[in-house]
């Protein structure tokens, strides 16, 4: 009987180690919710910018105006990205302290590399789109590459991240057909989906 307990313990420790050595468990669901809220705020700002600046016919040519607008929109997007990254990093550091795991270990390194490959590829591709005057496809491309990055990194995090990735890709592919509603798809993909999945993960792993 004693032996059986010892073996049960062995099995338990194997299961825990296999999971902990692969999965980065300190990822905070709360950071998903917050970055979703940032994205919604950003989408609101972008909407305001588009609606109310186009009505005033300035002395700039239409082309100049469009370029200025594009720069503003890209600025908003980058601002949200930076804010989300800082929040995510801070909350994750806090959680890893709480669960007694290191934030910078072999698993989180691998997670970052797996995320970075599709993200950097997508970033360069989207910059190319913008400079080539194909700005309409920038939002679908953002969603698609972000989804691919999530799926690529999902073995190292919670399994919900993979489903979030599928959702982002689906949304991106649909968005490519309805470029007039780019802002709505952007708000759905980076706002609503983040809040939804973030809340799911927060309930399941953080609380």
């Amino acid at each position: 009987m004693e032996e059986q307990e010892a073996y049960q313990k062995d099995i338990e420790s194997i299961r825990k180690l296999m999971e902990r050595s692969v999965k980065f468990i300190s990822l905070s669901g709360l950071s998903g919710i917050l970055s979703g809220l940032y994205a919604l705020a950003g989408a609101g700002m972008a909407y305001y910018l588009i609606e109310f600046s186009s009505s005033s016919p300035g002395y700039d040519s239409a082309e100049m105006h469009e370029r200025g607008m594009l720069l503003n929109l890209v600025g908003i997007a980058i601002g949200i990205l930076v804010a989300s990254l800082i929040t995510g990093f801070w909350l994750t550091a806090r959680k890893s302290q709480r669960v007694g795991a290191k934030i910078w270990d072999a698993t989180s390194k691998r997670l970052l590399i797996n995320l970075a490959i599709p993200l950097v590829t997508g970033g360069i591709f989207i910059l190319t789109l913008l400079t080539q005057g194909e700005a309409a496809l920038a939002v679908p491309a953002c969603l698609i590459f972000y989804g691919l990055a999530l799926i690529n990194a999902s073995p190292n995090v919670y399994e919900e991240v993979r489903y979030l990735g599928y959702s982002e890709i689906t949304l991106g592919l649909i968005a490519a057909w309805c470029t007039d509603y780019a802002l709505i798809f952007w708000a759905l993909g980076f706002g609503v989906l983040h809040i939804l999945y973030g809340a799911m993960m927060y309930k399941k792993y953080d609380a």
């Binding site: 062995d10 420790s13 194997i14 180690l17 692969v22």
Partner: protein
């Protein structure tokens, strides 16, 4: 019925060794320091057990330099993977038999 204890792997009966193997089976490769942090064991302790696994050819070692500092990475071999699986099967049998 055959005695399931006979199927246990003598090398893997040690918990730290079994833990090392479980990390290496789940990951492509792992380096010494990361393994040490994960298992919360001392340098010497980990080195001894890895040596034992190396001797059985359950793990393979590759030594490289990163920023001029030595970096030792371990991988499990096919032989190690099979041994690990058989050992787990044996544990499973033992638990099953004792439940009856």
């Amino acid at each position: 019925m055959k005695n399931p204890f006979e199927n246990l792997d003598k090398t893997l009966e040690h918990r730290v060794r079994l833990q090392i193997m479980s990390v290496l089976v789940a990951n492509e490769s792992y380096d010494f320091n990361a393994l040490k942090d994960l298992l919360e064991v001392t340098d010497g302790n980990l080195a001894t057990h890895i040596k034992a696994l190396e001797k059985e050819k359950y793990v393979s070692v590759s030594k490289t330099f990163i920023d001029r500092r030595p970096n030792t990475r371990y991988k499990t071999t096919e032989r190690g993977r099979t041994a690990f699986r058989k050992h787990l099967d044996a544990i499973e049998d033992i638990i099953k038999q004792q439940r009856k």
